[in-house]
């Protein structure tokens, strides 16, 4: 058996294609997180297919997406990283905070950029320490602050009790520090309700919420945990308009199983929703109708498909920036990193791509790898089966977040022996 494995790997290692721009997609289409992993992976791949079909790639060089199934499992994620990095991978987007923590030291050693859009290690915003890690346009701590700001916009928060229902992993634990600081600042009481992986069983957590009656519930969930939580909340008749999820708990797959009872559930987002954008006409024409869509091709216009596409779009724009900066068409990971650090998203750029007003404007710099942290609140309309934004893009409480970022990144720098500074 070993011999055959050897032979297979030898075949794989012998044929690296260096001519393309390689964008590995560490996706998960199986397991308890598949319902959320599939639309993101489809959106990511379809956007690159669109670029190849319509524009002949990025700057004339075709983009190549290598897909590798991680199942949201860190061990498989590491295997995928090792298997694809030799193929000239330009950027990794693992869509898993656990895998991100594994990859941060590895990509830094290998010199490959890592983009964790709205997830991962929040303090990676400090680019002076995390040279190869980017988390623009928003991060978990921004999300926690947005949720609290939204609750404050609806009335006095002091003295209220707010529950955080979270995935008991690095992902779910990320916002706790921020929420603790915010609870001190604004005088609300924070109640922590962890849900263990995968989160199919949450009876006891929601019983606790029924007993303690928090005024608001914030959820940091992912995968099957989201659906279960929303159904359980409906079962105990928790008022949905007081229930607000992070952007990872705000896809159609999460609310549809609860049916009408999910009406009024809120979720944060850092990009726009729906398929009312010019780029969708191109996507249908060049990708879906041509039979080149990834997966089943039925996810267009869903929240996570849009996010996957947004992630691919930001990667493609960073690649374009890198091509302009270096003057080379065929990029290396180092050039890609510089491109990401010089990325500037403007309204004009997004309109040109066919996504006017889709995401916030931001500019990446060495000091700030995290963008502006703008976010909006969306609400689910169960009758129309649609998300709609109920607020505009608003900023987060940087007075609270920035010191935490400085503290956490300094701790990482001390632990890993990194000198802060720009490359």
């Amino acid at each position: 058996m070993k011999l055959t494995t050897l032979a297979v790997a030898a075949v794989m290692a012998a044929s690296p294609v260096m001519a393309d721009l390689v964008f590995p997609s560490l996706s998960y289409r199986t397991g308890p997180y598949a319902a959320n992993g599939i639309p993101f992976a489809d959106g990511y791949e379809d956007y690159f297919t669109l670029l190849n079909e319509r524009d002949g790639g990025i700057g004339g060089v075709p983009a190549k997406v290598i897909e590798c199934e991680t199942g949201y499992n860190t061990e498989k994620g590491v295997e995928c990283y090792e298997a694809t990095k030799g193929e000239g991978a330009l950027i990794y987007q693992p869509l898993s905070t656990g895998i991100t923590y594994q990859l941060i030291p590895k990509v830094t050693a290998d010199g490959i950029p890592l983009h964790t859009m709205g997830y991962g290690r929040t303090s990676a915003k400090n680019g002076e320490i995390f040279s190869n890690v980017f988390n623009y346009p928003a991060n978990y701590w921004d999300g926690a602050s947005h949720a609290v700001n939204h609750i404050m916009s609806q009335g006095d928060i002091s003295g209220k009790k707010i529950a955080l229902v979270y995935h008991n992993s690095a992902y779910g634990k990320e916002p706790i520090r921020t929420l603790e600081e915010l609870s001190k600042k604004h005088g609300f009481e924070l109640m922590l309700v962890p849900v263990d992986h995968p989160g199919q069983e949450q009876k006891s957590q929601w019983l606790q919420i029924r007993q303690q009656k928090p005024d608001n519930v914030i959820m940091y969930g992912w995968g099957v945990m989201n659906q279960v939580a929303i159904q359980e909340a409906a079962n105990i008749r928790y008022p949905m308009e007081n229930f607000i999820g992070i952007w990872w708990s705000g896809s159609e797959n999460d609310v549809l199983p609860a049916g009408d009872r999910a009406n009024g559930y809120k979720a944060l987002t850092f990009h726009n929703l729906g398929d009312d954008y010019p780029v969708y006409a191109d996507l249908r024409k060049y990708v879906v109708d041509a039979g080149k869509a990834a997966g089943a091709g039925d996810q267009l216009g869903t929240a996570l498909y849009n996010r996957g596409m947004y992630a691919a779009m930001l990667a493609a724009e960073a690649a374009k920036t890198a091509q302009e900066l270096s003057g080379e068409k065929n990029l290396t990971p180092a050039m890609m990193r510089d491109g990401m650090e010089a990325l500037e998203m403007t309204e004009a750029k997004m309109a040109e791509i066919g996504l006017p007003g889709f995401g916030p404007e931001f500019k990446v710099s060495c000091q700030n790898h995290g963008g502006n942290g703008l976010g909006a609140v969306a609400q689910w309309d169960a009758a129309a089966k649609k998300w709609s934004l109920i607020t505009g893009y608003e900023g987060s409480d940087q007075d609270v977040i920035q010191p935490l970022i400085d503290e956490d990144s300094a701790a990482f720098a001390a632990e890993a022996g990194i000198e802060a500074g720009c490359k």
């Binding site: 058996m1 790997a9 996706s27 199934e69 590491v78 923590y101 594994q102 050693a109 634990k173 992986h197």
Partner: protein, 358 residues
């Protein structure tokens, strides 16, 4: 023809009682060691180290540990994942508290810590047996995972509850952290697995091992012939814990680099190692290696065939891989309930008679 005792005369007791009394076996063993130590390190790359060899060697260490407990002493354990977590957190605390000490010291120390913890969780085995003991170890699994999640001291108060291994070295060679060379990772795991196999093999051949096996085969009879059940069971738990702790320490520090207890050391890890032991063969050191190889290499192999060679979609490949590995496990267990080690034993019997089987 090659594999037989005839003509291989032993003139001293040590010669007669050596691990591999048959010459062919012995040379094969030396050859495997030579390839593992002198050939592979020069050819290994990152992919081979991280996807194949390092996990294989680490799981083999864990399987040896569980095999001592379940295969040799007959005590079922479903707490292997959590016991590996004890090793991982112990080595993490040691690495961060004493940065200048070599990993060659930290890892066995983590093994010792785990041995102590596992021996404590082995105490119920003095009163309960079989399924009931399995449930008691299951409680250990959930309790330890909960503990490592709950008490921030274990993860040095990091914001996310993750532990990540800093850069540490052995004689100036970096063995943990992102800048580790592939061969260094491989070598440190290889050294520990070799030692674990040697120690385990010799323990099981000696009086302690015989006591374990007596308890496994019939504990009352064993007690009557003078085996102290408490000592036998607790030493089995402790020795097993030592190896599992080493495996956990290496798993976190060398292989993963960062770990989260619920995900990396959950109940599925306990079952994975238990499957390795059952498929490899209970009560066999070779079986531990064979089982680990089967469970670690087969998924990687199938994935490379389905996605790399045939170009199938990744989700189809992932599902098919479950079906194929699950099916193979069932086929193996029906055809050979005693595992891969028994197949190997049968093959050796056949070899003895070859080429004249009558």
């Amino acid at each position: 023809m090659f594999y037989r005792e005839a003509g291989d005369f032993k003139v001293s007791y040590p010669e007669d009682s050596q691990t591999f009394p048959i010459k062919f076996d012995r040379y094969r063993y030396y050859l495997v060691l030579a390839v593992a130590y002198l050939v592979i390190p020069f050819f290994i790359n990152d992919y081979w180290a991280n996807a194949v060899f390092v996990p294989f060697l680490i799981y083999a260490t864990a399987a040896i540990g569980l095999n001592i407990l379940t295969g040799y002493c007959g005590q079922v354990s479903l707490g292997t994942g959590a016991f590996m977590a004890v090793g991982a957190y112990a080595v993490y605390k040691l690495m961060t508290a004493f940065p200048e000490v070599s990993m060659l010291i930290h890892v066995p120390l983590a093994g010792l810590v785990t041995a102590g913890v596992v021996a404590i969780f082995g105490l119920p085995s003095l009163r309960i047996k079989g399924f009931y003991l399995a449930v008691a170890t299951l409680a250990a699994q959930f309790f330890l995972v909960w503990l490592f999640n709950k008490v921030p001291w274990f993860y040095n108060y990091s914001a996310s509850g993750q532990i990540s291994s800093p850069e540490r070295s052995v004689f100036g060679i970096i063995v943990t952290g992102p800048n580790t060379e592939a061969w260094a990772k491989y070598m440190i795991c290889l050294i520990f697995v070799t030692l674990a196999a040697l120690i385990a093999r010799n323990l099981t051949r000696g009086s302690i091992g015989r006591k374990w096996m007596a308890i496994r085969d019939m504990d009352i009879a064993a007690e009557i012939i003078g085996v102290n059940p408490m000592m036998a069971k607790l030493t089995a738990f402790a020795v097993s814990g030592f190896f599992i702790g080493i495996a956990g320490a290496l798993f976190f520090s060398v292989y993963l680099g960062a770990a989260e207890v619920g995900e990396s050391f959950g109940i599925d890890k306990s079952f994975l190692v238990l499957f390795m032991v059952i498929i490899g063969g209970l009560g066999s050191i070779f079986g531990s290696f064979a089982g680990a190889a089967f469970m670690v290499l087969l998924p990687v192999f199938l994935k490379n065939v389905f996605v790399g060679m045939l170009g199938w979609p990744t989700d189809l490949a992932a599902h098919l891989q479950f079906i194929v590995s699950g099916g193979l496990i069932i086929v193996f267990l029906i055809l050979e309930p005693h595992g891969l080690a028994q197949l190997w034993r049968v093959a050796k019997e056949k070899l003895r008679l070859w080429p004249f089987p009558h």
